[in-house]
């Protein structure tokens, strides 16, 4: 069926453009609301200490080539020493931070608030779209899709002979949902709350950080081969200086 449907201009004026504008505005609103509602979490001293130990160990691992072997070994022992090494977590304690993180009411409240602020506008907008804008062809997507997408994209339209390219407004909503993420990152700067999958990953990753990453850093330090990058660097410095002075 290669006929070209001609769609009413009113659809463009009253469906496509308002839906896009509403989604952009809701995104901006959500960004500001989440910024206002952000409770300043009083930082836990233990967590910060562990975090900075991890960072220091990581720096040591990354820059191992720039310090002499003995110095590196001394630092490595300081971190991985069995009795009082900073990275050594006794087995019993390792489980506690995790459990504490989850039962801590503040953290749970925060995560719930952030999840809610993500889900509620999406659900509301989706319900609004379904209620008002269903049952007609809203847009034509410029590329052809197979018949299997028909049920997904054309859910309000009950004619089976209409080309799959003509989609209902529900698919326009989803297209907007994914496509406006890029636009938001341009308008709102880097910190915007519209990418929900990314934030959920961040949220779930944060709880496990202290207990597991210490062990991981310790293993990483144990594996590192010291590669002395600056051998004979006095001679090299001498050569460079000579060249400079002679030219």
């Amino acid at each position: 069926m290669a006929e070209e449907l001609v769609l009413d201009t009113a659809i463009r004026d009253w469906v496509l453009i308002p839906l896009s504008i509403v989604m952009v505005l809701i995104g901006i609103l959500r960004y500001f609301v989440s910024k206002l509602m952000r409770t300043t979490q009083s930082p836990d001293a233990k967590i910060i200490k562990e975090g900075s130990v991890v960072i220091r160990a990581r720096n040591l691992r990354a820059a191992a080539g720039f310090i002499p072997l003995k110095a590196f070994r001394a630092r490595k022992v300081y971190y991985t020493n069995e009795e009082n090494g900073l990275l050594h977590v006794p087995k019993g304690q390792a489980q506690n931070p995790q459990a504490q993180m989850f039962s801590d009411p503040n953290m749970a409240m925060d995560m719930m608030k952030k999840n809610l602020s993500m889900i509620i506008p999406q659900t509301l907008t989706f319900a609004w779209v379904n209620f008002f804008f269903s049952g007609f062809v809203a847009a034509k997507i410029p590329f052809p899709l197979t018949q299997r997408f028909r049920s997904m994209l054309q859910n309000g339209i009950d004619l089976s002979t209409v080309d799959v390219s003509y989609v209902s407004s529900r698919s326009w909503y989803f297209l907007n949902l994914f496509g406006l993420r890029g636009l938001f990152s341009l308008i709102l700067g880097e910190e915007n709350a519209t990418d929900d999958t990314q934030r959920m990953m961040q949220m779930s990753g944060f709880g496990f950080d202290p207990s597991k990453s210490l062990g991981a850093e310790k293993d990483g330090l144990d594996i590192v081969q010291h590669d002395w990058v600056l051998p004979k660097f006095e001679q090299r410095a001498q050569a460079v200086l000579r060249k400079r002075l002679s030219s």
């Binding site: 449907l5 659809i11 463009r12 034509k140 410029p142 297209l175 994914f178 496509g179 993420r181 341009l186």
Partner: protein, 115 residues
């Protein structure tokens, strides 16, 4: 793209290149913004010109390639003093702008041709 955004970050090391992580990240962010913006513009252009189907995706690849070339030229063709590998500036985020492209392509195409 202001000139102070892409700061060189290779420190003076003869063999082993070291990078300033903050500058590297800021450069990557600039690349990401450029690609997003160009994919939006490319989508509008593709819609207005009436490309459909495969031609539209060809336009997307073309726009991304032009963006890569322009970014390389902006970095003065010496990639290694701004990024840590060629892949970062050429391939990274290639497909990230696809959804925005499709959205604006559909939008422009519908407004101009169907309605």
């Amino acid at each position: 793209m202001a000139s102070h955004d892409e700061s060189g970050k290779k420190s003076n090391e003869n063999e082993m290149p070291t990078f300033n992580a903050e500058n590297l990240q800021s450069n990557m962010k600039v690349v990401y913004y450029c690609r997003t913006f160009m994919s939006i513009i490319g989508g509008v252009i593709a819609g207005i010109c009436g490309f459909t189907g495969l031609m539209g995706f060809v336009v997307y690849v073309l726009v991304m390639a032009i963006t890569s070339v322009c970014l390389t030229a902006r970095a003065g063709f010496s990639i290694h003093s701004y990024f840590d590998s060629w892949n970062r500036v050429l391939l990274d985020g290639f497909l990230g702008g696809l959804l925005s492209f499709v959205l604006f392509w559909t939008f422009a195409y519908d407004i101009v041709h169907i309605f």
